[in-house]
Amino acid sequence: MSLTRHLNPRTLPLIITTTLFVALFGFGAISYDAFLSPQVFLNLLIDNGFLLVVAIGMTFVIISGGIDLSVGSIVALTTMVSASLVQHHHWSIWVILPLVLLMGCAFGLLHGVLIQVFRLQAFIVTLGGMFLARGLCYVISIDSISITDPTYTALSEYRLALGEETFISLSGIIALVTLAIAIFIAHYTKFGRTVYAIGGNERSALLMGLPVARTKIMVYVLSGFCSALGGILVTLYMLSGYGLHALGMELDAIAAAVIGGTLLTGGVGNVIGTLIGVLILGVIQSLIAFDGSLSSWWTRIAIGLLLFLFCLLQRIIERSGLGRKAKSTTA
């Protein structure tokens, strides 16, 4: 307990998460010969870039004290709209991209306004958005639409070589750029700090003269934008649009954020943690793939156990590190 008291309770979960990731990766390296290569690490980003982007948006929402259940459905709708427009209507990708991003923002704006202006529960509002977006997919088509457009195919197959036999895909690059921008927004802009303040204590944030209403709405717009961007990455990764894409991704995104140290009660967390959360989910998948004998459902079991572990861990840190605060506020 004395160890936790000296450490910043905000960074401790991050340290533990990082240690866990290194341990898992190390375990893989010892167990499987081919595991310890830069490409295995880069593949984590390539295969999970879209999840990272979506989870970043989710992290902002959770830090503000809210939740966004619609992200997976918006990802699916984005793939569907993109595929339909390019395959059936032969629109240019350069028109489609801004259009779907705008659509994501519009969903976020709708959620934000309902939540902030009409004081509705974020859980219910975004649950509504989740059903709506998922349902709209099937209005476009109940079948998967394969994309054969040359620009999409080219972008999908693009690989940036980082050395001999190591490369990163476009979606990996976009995910990393998004991460960098998110770190900047979270730590170096007034908007970012206001998100933390609202998650910490909304009433105080109001009394300190911060633009609470605008910021809360913007957080959902940001999440909608990230979902649409994640949807674009999924479209490139799968080269198809389908109503069943990204089923349950909202839960993966929440899991990644929580494993990365973001508190569901708001106010605490950061996007680097979310990156590591995504990498942990990815490395578990890789380990199971390398093993070859386990069913992929073991990933779920591992994630479930990890979530239990991390929630418990956060509570323990809270009790020891913030114990003094809890005692004094009830006095």
């Binding site: 910043n8 170096y188 802009t189 007034k190 910490g200 009433r203 105080s204 300190m208 006095a331």
Partner: protein, 505 residues
């Protein structure tokens, strides 16, 4: 000290709320480099006056001048820009952000389009150094105790070139050392020429730090005094005043009877206390007696009740019920021991407005029995009607929503709720607040009647005359500490005040 010009002057302030006059021709002067205490009982108009000054409320009439210029404050932000900053009782900061951020959020220093954390941390250290605080400003605010958080709030308030600092009960959750630290900081600010308006209920603290005292009573200015010229007993008299017709509250204590029943106490607390809330005290509550808690607002009356009922946990001392040691650490346990508690705030902690009178009365009894021993409706109605009759609750039907009853009748229904559980001891916290005089008398009579049936009662009221009227014995509290006990039969208001003032006369 040479006679100075007042930095802030409020004159002839009137403020009317629908049905009540909150402030009537109130004036206030603040001098630079002085701590000015604003004193008064509950409802005296202190908070309204501060709200007018900080732009939360607009006065109906009256003038405010700051540094010789007439000002009109219409919002908190405007007040802050003028240099009038307020620190509230609860720390209104975000405990998850760093100390430095809490001081600067909303007016971050920027560099190259991004928040300049280095400059911000340096500025925060300087701001806190001015208050004699040297801490790591990059840690979250929650890593520090409330006292430090309070200082951070002050540092934030001072940030915008404050000339006037208003502290609204800043010490209510601080312990003695922390209060001393706060006062050190205030003395430093005084020396810098900042005018400080200090609202508190603690007499010791008032005299420890204030140069000047303004007393409000019933929305009117009672007077402005130099602290050195105003003895405590006079301050108390001025705060409390005298407005209740003595004859209507003639004492009904039959001291002989009370004394006869006094033997082994029902509940005996020894050294019961909680750091920062209540200093250890001894308390005996006897069956068939009313123990009144006398004291000014903030003296620790409610805190005592909350400790006994297990809402707050005592961190020192022990309690015995009928001579058997008990640990009172949860309301459930307290209820099992035969205790019942009518809380102070009827609307939020007492009645369930949407439920019927019957449901409200039966609530505690049903909870006591547990859901597996459900009371049949017929039985419920019978109990409810019995208490409606016994306590004289004026209603045509026990199935009416309780929200439709008058305040006095709601209070009686609450009383019924706890009486229905057949408790051995009843704690009544401000049972007469917000109800008319006739209803007050009725409630007090009910208290006496129940007491005669052998119930032990702990009675809390801001109205000293009511405490005197119903109590067999009175425990006098001051500054969260018990300072003595008086016999209900022989005590009068003056003897209580003298005790509170600490023997001065």
């Amino acid at each position: 000290m040479t006679e100075q010009q007042a930095i802030l002057q409020m004159q002839g302030i009137h403020k009317r709320f629908p049905g009540v006059v909150a402030l009537k021709d109130v004036s206030l002067r603040l001098f630079p480099g002085e701590v000015h205490a604003l004193m008064g009982q509950n409802g005296a108009g202190k908070s309204t006056l501060i709200k007018v000054l900080t732009g939360v409320e607009n006065a109906d009439s009256g003038d405010i001048t700051l540094a010789g210029k007439a000002i009109r404050v219409t919002s908190v932000l405007e007040a802050q820009e003028l240099g009038i900053s307020t620190v509230y009782q609860e720390v209104n900061l975000c405990s998850n952000l760093s100390v430095a951020e809490n001081i600067f959020i909303g007016r971050f220093p920027f560099r190259f389009g991004r928040i300049d954390w280095k400059t911000m941390n340096a500025k925060a250290r300087t701001a806190l150094a001015a208050l004699n605080i040297d801490i790591d400003v990059s840690l979250p605010l929650s890593s520090y105790p409330v006292a430090i958080q309070q200082m951070v709030a002050i540092a934030r308030a001072l940030g915008t070139e404050a000339q006037v600092l208003i502290l609204d009960e800043p010490t209510s959750s601080l312990d003695e050392d922390e209060v001393e630290r706060l006062f050190d900081a205030l003395r430093k600010l005084k020396a810098k020429g900042i005018a400080i308006l200090f609202v508190t209920h603690f007499l010791d603290q008032t005299y420890a730090i204030s140069d000047r005292i303004t007393v409000l009573r019933n929305g009117e200015l009672e007077g402005e005094y130099l602290a050195a010229d105003l003895p405590r007993i006079q301050l108390i008299n001025k705060m409390v005043g005298r407005e209740i017709d003595e004859s209507s509250f003639a004492r009904q204590t039959e001291s002989g009877e009370a004394k006869a029943s006094a033997g082994e106490p029902f509940l005996a607390a020894r050294n019961l206390g909680r750091a920062g809330t209540l200093r250890p005290l001894d308390l005996d509550v006897h069956a068939g007696q009313v123990l009144g808690l006398g004291g000014l607002l903030g003296s620790g009356r409610t805190e005592t009740a909350r400790l006994l009922f297990g809402i707050d946990h005592a961190d020192s001392g022990s309690a015995k019920i009928n001579g058997v040691p008990v640990s009172l650490n949860s309301p459930r346990k307290a209820i099992r021991q035969g205790l019942a508690f009518c809380p102070e705030d009827r609307k939020t902690e007492g009645i369930v407005a949407e439920l019927s009178i019957r449901e409200n009365i039966i609530l505690a009894l049903q909870a006591h029995r547990g859901i597996f021993r459900f009371l049949p409706l017929r039985k419920q109605t019978q109990i409810a009607e019995e208490y409606v009759k016994q306590l004289g609750i004026k209603t045509s039907d026990v199935e009416k929503p309780i929200g439709q009853l008058s305040g006095g009748n709601q209070q009686k229904a609450l009383l019924a709720r706890w009486l229905a559980t057949e408790p051995k001891m009843l704690i009544l916290d401000e049972p007469t607040r917000g109800i008319d005089v006739a209803a007050k008398l009725e409630i007090m009579d009910l208290v006496k009647t129940q007491c005669r049936k052998g119930l032990a009662i702990l009675f809390i009221s801001s109205e000293m005359s009511e405490v005197l009227r119903v109590s067999d014995r009175i425990a006098v509290l001051r500054d969260r500490q018990k300072i003595g006990e008086l016999d209900g039969a022989s005590a009068d208001e003056q003897s209580i005040f003298r005790m509170i003032a600490g023997g001065e006369s």
